[in-house]
Amino acid sequence: MVNLLLTLSTRHRRWVFWALAALTLALASQLPRITIDTDPENMLPVDHPQRAFHNQAKETFSMHDMIVVGVVSENSIYDPATLTALHSVARFSAGLDGVIAADLMSLADVDNISQAEPGTIRFEWMMKTPPETVSEALAIRDQVADLPLLYNTIVADSDQAAAIYVPIKDKNESYRLAEQIRGHINSLDSADDWHITGLPVAEDQFGYEMFVQMGISAPLAGLVIFILLYMFFRNVPFILAAMIVAMATVVITMGLLIGLGFTVHIMSSMIAIFLMPIAVVDSVHILSEFADRHKPGDDVKNTLADVMRHLFQPMLFTSVTSAVGFLSLLLTPIPPVQIFGAFVGFGILLAFVITVIFVPAYISALKPATLARLSKVEAAQGGRFARTIQGLGKRSGRYAKFWVAAFIAISAISVVGIQQININDNPIRWFKEGHEIRVADKVLNKHFAGTYDAYLVLQSKADSQQLLVNAMDKQLSNAALTTKTRNWLAEQRDALLGDMAAGEFIWNLEDKLYEVKGAEAEALSELMQSAEQLGSNSKTFTSPAILAYMDGLQDYLLTTGLVGKSNSLADVVKTVNRELGSGAPEDYAIPASAQGVAQVLMQYQSSHRPQDLWHFVTPDYQQSLIWLQLTSGDNQHMTAVTAAVDTYLDTHPLPAGLELNWAGKAYLNVVWQEAMVEGMLASLISAFVVVFVMMVVLFRSLVFGVLAMLPLTLTISFIYGLIGWIGKDYDMPIAVLSSLTLGLSVDFAIHFIERARATQAETKDWQSTLSILFDEPARAISRNAIVIAVGFTPLLFAPLVPYITVGVFLASIMAISALVTLIMLPAVMTLARRLIFKTEN
């Protein structure tokens, strides 16, 4: 089979070259169609129930995506110059296409509810025109400080900061809008500090930096690998084979991903840099062994046949195990992680296929003179690198007991560390410290009650629509109705079961009441009464008891210290009630009756911004939203808030007939993190089992199967133990590493054990076997470890933190697992050689 493949590829090498070139070019043509996706929401499938609920809540309560513009003044923002600038920026932003001007929030856009003179109430713009004097500016401070919904949200209680919340229609426009706003701010010549942030801005910025990463890191990885290979082989035409495999693999895989219509998310943007070093690994084995074996004058095809016979099976297995590690990511419920796993897995198998077909064809096409230079280098290189590796081999054999004890100790310490792992993430920390977005985030959260949003959505479980339909059914069977009226009523009933609102039915019924007379009119009047009664009863959130419950929950949240501020319908009601009453703090209370609440709210609706009410309650008063402002976007923080609410619910049960659900970006991040942690465990376990079974099959031995799994088990435990000990948060990039580490680091064990068995079969003496193993085989393993480890280091230059984390950890994992393989396997095999080689001898 290997021979046939070799014959075909070397004999028809022109075909091989052209086919590879054509395939690569065809898929390269798809690359320009790339679409970037930076929406963290897409970490969950579109139809994920909590994501769907979040989006429904956002729509129901018109909670748009917002650009947050903050101005920070050294002394006080209540100064004509600062407020004039703020006014100008707010007006400019409101005028931009793509901004939902009606919902823009700033001092220049909100209403002041006040008592202009005793006994009166007044709605007026807080700052229709900028103040001209300091005392006018200070008057604004006094007014806004009295409005709990605005204080610490659009102005800071430190008096040093104010914010403009700019709601936008399409978050993909946020970068353009933020740039326009920034340009306007710069034209103002303001002495204050201005910051622009908000999730959509961060996402857009993220997308831009992802491109930078792909543009810089991937080519850099290519360059680094090229330099490394050159140092190993000192022969450009020879190592081009590996480079071509890497390039073709990356281009075909990415072209396929884009061509199939997948978006490039943060995960898939790393595909290129993952594939680059992994794709060259098989070529390095071939090149390494070829360089070792080929002597001037040898027939190239014979050497190649030798090499391929030797390497085909281990390369196939290492490729499949690596692919399995990545493919196991398909078990996570996170679509971008699935796509990443699937395409890297595919890419690894593709690299294997390209390697076994293309590399022999390529080498056979090289000039004999080129190949002749190889052996010289290989001989000359024998020097220091080889001696180091040999030394390692001696030590691992000689101090076997010590090493095994050490590994057991490390495992134990690691297990303790793993138990201390801190699961946490925060998308804002995906930007580096000092990035303008992180600076803005820090500054604004220092001054305000928090820029991270979570929503508590309360809703009535009662189906008032059904009750109304029941009332209609009752009248439909009333003999007093004429056929015409009955038909009309039946139509209305159907419409109500469709999407007609109860209010519209009341409207239509009223029309009908003017047309009918006598018994019919009585029947319909009765229906009207029921409909109105049901309408009133179904207005859950005008109930003073329910508002008081919400108020109590909010007070409790404030005492936990986890929530900067919360805003709800209860706050609206209390504020307006106060201004309708004495204006004094004792009237900051919920009216005693539902009618009182409804009338207070009708007054709130008599402002310049009646639609603001619908951020907190739906027009049918059956759903209400409590907006929580958090000063940190840490998932841990959000998890603590949900736990606090659960505790409160235990001692203060929800009023009957209500249900409570969470929404909001901060909450959604927790949802996908939890899904990911669970999914990663499933993926790790399944990859472990699959790889273990493959090892047992490959070596046709349970003992060798276990042996092969030892180094990677220790490596993974060690790395995650280390993460636990040093207190690094277990976040998205860290989570992804586990299963792919498994697939990559088992490669070293496969090559080592395969060679150990073959050598032991020849020498029948373990000491000589060890000495031979630490010659070419150990050198090839070390070379590959270095190629992969160093190949990932360009990620260190990436502008975004998750890439750096992945780079650092993968490089160390590769180095550690190669080292562990080269020390642990010989040590364990030395101690247990009787058991291990029992069958062989």
Binding site: E59, A501, W507, G535, P591, A598, V600, S607, H608
Partner: protein, 268 residues
């Protein structure tokens, strides 16, 4: 100008609508505006109407408001008293809104909230705030004084005048100008479109149905649209009647807590 106003006033209130010859005499845009104001807000010496509103938000969700309006003019185009009694939704029933419209100074406005057992004066100030959550402003209900804008006749056909109104105090309003099309027959404003600083129309108030009641052309169905969000409010008037001889005494604080029920009976 005063004479012209008086003349035009006669044209509407006594001579009655379909006398085109009279109407076509007017060329002064301010006079046209004033006459339109009188046609729209001062029909008869007093009047009563049952009104209902359906407020539809951008998401298609609705709210209802139902109320009876009593109005009495002290002089056409001059002082005016108004009472608004809410009946629906049930939880705001008996809420009362009272306006004493002044010419020389700001209107006086009061509010009675039965749920809080409270009468409150609404401080003088901006009248371009929402009327009980609808897309209509208070000013749409009580009428925007013609002295607040500068008018320009921008086009005229056999049937219509089109005026462009520019606010004298731009800082006091949210529009940069509005255009109003006035029917020459009835002198009623048919459609007003409001424009923002960028020159984009964002709000439209329209008379959908005009009926002749006791000889007065009366808007019985009007609609205001938020052209940006897509929300709108429909307002319908029923049982409109004029010249009821409403007594002055009912336009008082007393009527807010104790509605003059005999004047609120609709089926006659």
């Amino acid at each position: 100008m005063r004479i012209l106003t008086l003349l035009s006033l006669l044209a509407v209130t006594s001579v009655l609508p379909f006398d085109r010859a009279q109407a076509q005499e007017i060329t002064d845009p301010h006079a046209i505006a004033k006459q339109a104001e009188i046609a729209a807000y001062y029909a008869g010496d007093d009047g009563r109407s049952a009104a209902r509103m359906m407020i539809t938000d951008a998401q298609g969700r609705t709210q209802l408001r139902q109320f009876i309006i009593l109005r009495k003019d002290h002089s056409d185009g001059g002082r005016q008293d108004m009472l608004v009694f809410f009946s629906r939704p049930a939880d705001v029933r008996d809420t009362v809104f009272r306006v004493a419209k002044n010419i020389e100074r700001e209107d006086d406005r009061w509010l009675y909230l039965p749920g809080l057992d409270l009468i409150k004066r609404i401080s003088a100030g901006d009248k371009r705030t929402s009327f009980v959550g609808s897309h209509f402003f208070y000013e749409d209900v009580s009428g925007r004084g013609t002295s607040l804008d500068d008018f320009e006749l921008i086009s005229e056909t056999d049937a219509h005048y089109v005026l462009k109104a520019t606010p004298l105090d731009p800082a006091s309003v949210e529009f940069s100008h509005y255009e109003v099309r006035i029917d020459k027959n009835t002198m009623l404003p048919l459609k007003s479109r409001f424009y923002n600083a960028k020159g984009e129309a964002y709000r439209e108030v329209e008379a959908v149905t005009i009926e002749e009641i006791q000889g007065y052309p009366t808007v019985t169905h009007s609609r205001v649209k938020d052209l940006v969000s897509g929300g709108q409010t429909e307002m319908q008037f029923r049982f409109t009647s004029y010249n009821l001889d409403l007594p002055d005494s009912i336009f008082s604080e007393r009527s807010m807590r104790n509605p003059p029920t005999e004047w609120l009976e609709l089926r006659d």
